[in-house]
Amino acid sequence: METNHKHPEKKEFNITVYTENQIGLLNRIAIIFTRRKINIDSLNTSPSEIEGIHRFNIVIDETEDVVRKLARQIEKQVEVLKVYYNTNDDIIWQEMALYKVPTEAIAEKASVERLLREHGARAVVIRKDYTVFETTGHREETDTLIEVLQPYGLIEFVRSARVAIIKDSEGFNQKLREFEQREPGEEVIENEYLNKRDKVFTM
């Protein structure tokens, strides 16, 4: 039996949760982490590819063993349809960041413009007093630009939660049909997690 105790070190995991759209569910999911004193590094809720089905993207830094148990606890919630967890290698992900800097600094110091180009940032708003830039990318990229802009009087910075697409996911449409088709009492059996319970958890 394969176990995960070989690699107990913490790393970044991306938890994807498909849910019904229900008031209070965010709290129900959040307390699964807070009860265990686990910090959520990033949390995004959004619609999914299916109308009425919501998708949470949650990022935490933990061991796989802990993440697997968390995933099971989340999936146990009545309004949660399905939970996946992935390492950063398994997903395509992006975070967006906004930077407000004094326009003066941009206008006077040509180097800023060059730096922004190098970091793929674009201007969203240009006013006399300030300019807002936007960039999208991985954490290191948006972090680097903070450091770069700091000397030029960075006024405000904000970064969005992470959004992520699972590389080998076929989406949720087919799964949802199975959930719906299933007559009470004849629940099929995915039960597939028993075969690969260290990989994907699913009910």
Partner: protein, 580 residues
């Protein structure tokens, strides 16, 4: 048939179709449609419309007025535990609802099906700090399987249908429905009650995968020293007969968790006793000697496993559970059998070979003999000195012949009662296992009796726990319910004192508790009673209690500084269990 007759016909065959009624009336109609016969509750401002509707249904449903909402929910739990049905509890908003929280937490950790309906302030007042407004949904989220706030009467039938379905299906648990006052008074078109039996995002149980049953059977058939651990899952799944058949065919010694007690009669030859911190000697020691461990409907609680990294490391583990989150949670499983044990056990029984394990079973009996000599004999049959808790339970066994429902509170008396009580049948042991809620027993016993009116219900309670919820004597007085209250009084908060003796150098910090005159107190509530401290009076006093028509309180003064043994000290392995 003319048109008029046709209309009449329709009216008589579908009387429930599209009636206009208030949300409150619909609440009661839905509960009746679910088969609710008993409600434990306490009225208040925000639930008054529901109580007003209830007034018209007094002959259809029995509402028990408790003395505190915590008593209400513990009674609901007791009812659910003995009857197997869903306990129903009413409470008002604010303090009424917050008083439910302990019971919800208890029901959540002990998987007890309870539906609580709380009143809430008018929807337009939500978030305004209105009188008796609390954020009940968020307060109860961590301690409910599901909860939902209704702000429109039209939601009521579906919300209640879902509540019952969720509470009792899969791994059962508590559900809370919070109904704003406007929804209670709102008139709407009630189209009748449709029970819920499917929610697309909710899988109460999976279909069984036979290959895992096969792998489990292979392990069992090859085992030389197999050992079964069973928990409340057997009872919740109604799988007692299936479990017995499995154990008898496979011939495997079987031990139980506190909540599993009675799933297999305590007198069964393959029942080798109780697991855990104060469990029996053999089951604890031999957990670390068995080669295949078969866990059925139990969750490897820390009080059962002791130190996890020294727990059954030598064994291959088969875990039968309905809740996938339990598999591998505490103990890594070799073969997970995810499913309802009522379905999985017969499949497993079919594949296991008929066997006996006389030598292995004898090992349990040998350890039992050691335990009898070191602990049990002097606990159950002391010749001199003050009475022990064990001898009271032993005497009770002889008089009830193991047929009573024993409801226990939390502490030394609970461990003693669970260790020594005899249970011939299932749904006989009602106790607060996971949460360890002192004050549970008295209200739970009231509910237990309503849930099993034909059985004798004995509440065994310590002097500390009794004083936490003794106001429920008022409920007993008013309903005339027949509950036997057996207070084992050691004039201490005994379990904490025991720990202070063993681990804190006898620094008895605030465990010396004074009690009122319990018999006089009972008398004030028109409940007869007696208090004894002499061994020679014990049997007659217990017999009087059991024979008494109606409730009765018997206080037995027991020795002050007795310890419950065996004991697996915290942080130790189960095989390091101490006999003294």
């Amino acid at each position: 048939m003319n048109t008029l007759e046709l209309q009449k016909e329709e009216a008589s065959t579908q009387p429930e179709q599209a009636q206009t009624m208030t949300g409150s009336q619909a609440v009661i109609e839905c509960l009746l449609a679910e088969g609710t016969d008993t409600i434990f509750g306490y009225p208040g401002g925000a639930i008054m419309p529901i109580y007003d509707a209830l007034y018209d249904y007094r002959d259809k449903v029995n509402h028990i007025l408790v003395r505190h909402e915590q008593g209400g929910i513990h009674a609901g739990q007791g009812y659910a535990r003995t009857s197997g049905k869903v306990g129903v509890v009413f409470a008002t908003s604010g303090p009424g609802a917050t008083n439910l929280v302990t019971g919800l937490a208890d029901a959540q950790i002990d998987s007890t099906p309870v539906v609580c309906i709380t009143g809430q302030v008018f929807a337009h007042l939500l978030g305004t700090d209105a009188f008796q407004e609390t954020d009940v949904i968020n307060i109860t989220t961590p301690v409910t399987k599901w909860n939902y706030q209704v702000t429109d009467a039209c939601e009521i039938p579906e919300a209640i249908a879902k509540a019952f379905y969720i509470a009792r299906s899969g791994r059962p648990g508590p559900v809370l429905i919070d109904i704003t006052k406007n929804a209670q008074v709102q008139k709407f078109n009630y189209k009748g009650y449709t029970p819920c039996n499917h929610i697309r995002s909710y899988r109460p149980k999976p279909n069984v995968r036979e290959e895992y049953i096969e792998r489990a059977a292979e392990l069992i058939n090859a085992a030389k020293k197999p050992f079964v651990l069973f928990g409340q899952g057997v009872i919740l799944g109604g799988a007692e007969a299936e479990f017995k058949a499995f154990v008898e065919k496979s011939g495997i010694p079987s031990a139980w968790t506190v909540l599993g007690a009675g799933a297999l009669p305590t007198g069964h030859p393959l029942n080798v006793g109780m697991l855990g911190m104060h469990g029996n000697y053999g089951p604890n020691v031999l957990t670390n000697e068995c080669d295949v461990l078969i866990a059925v409907g139990m969750r490897f609680d820390d009080r059962v496993t002791g130190r996890l990294d020294k727990y059954a490391r030598q064994a291959q583990v088969i875990h039968l559970d309905i809740d996938p989150a339990e598999i591998d949670k505490n103990v890594q499983t070799t073969v997970p059998v995810w499913g309802d044990c009522k379905e999985t056990l017969p499949l497993l029984t079919r594949l296991v070979e008929k066997k006996e394990h006389p030598e292995w079973l004898q090992k349990f009996r040998d350890y039992e003999q050691q335990e009898i000599e070191a602990v049990i004999r002097k606990e159950l049959h002391p010749q001199t000195g003050e009475m022990t808790m064990g001898e009271v339970i032993d005497k009770l066994n002889k008089l009830t012949k193991g047929d009573a429902v024993i409801v226990t509170d939390v502490g030394q008396h609970q461990m003693v009662a669970c260790r020594y009580a005899k249970f011939n049948q299932t749904r006989s042991n009602v106790t607060s296992g996971g949460l360890g809620t002192m004050g549970f027993a008295l209200p739970a016993a009231i509910g237990a009796k309503f849930g099993a009116p034909n059985r004798t219900v004995v509440a065994v309670i310590g002097d500390g726990g009794f004083q936490m919820t003794l106001q429920e004597l008022g409920t007993i007085m008013q309903t005339g319910i027949d509950v036997k209250i057996l207070i084992l009084n050691n004039h201490f908060l005994g379990m904490v004192r025991q720990w202070q003796e063993l681990f804190n150098d006898r620094r008895y910090s605030f465990v010396d508790i004074e009690s009122p005159d319990f018999v006089a107190l009972a008398k004030a509530y028109k409940i007869d009673g007696n208090s004894i401290s002499d061994r020679k009076d014990l049997e007659a006093a217990l017999q009087t209690m059991l024979n008494h028509q109606g409730s009765y309180l018997l206080e037995v003064t027991v020795t002050k500084e007795n310890n419950v043994f065996p004991m697996v000290p915290q942080g130790c392995s189960v095989s390091e269990i101490r006999l003294k």
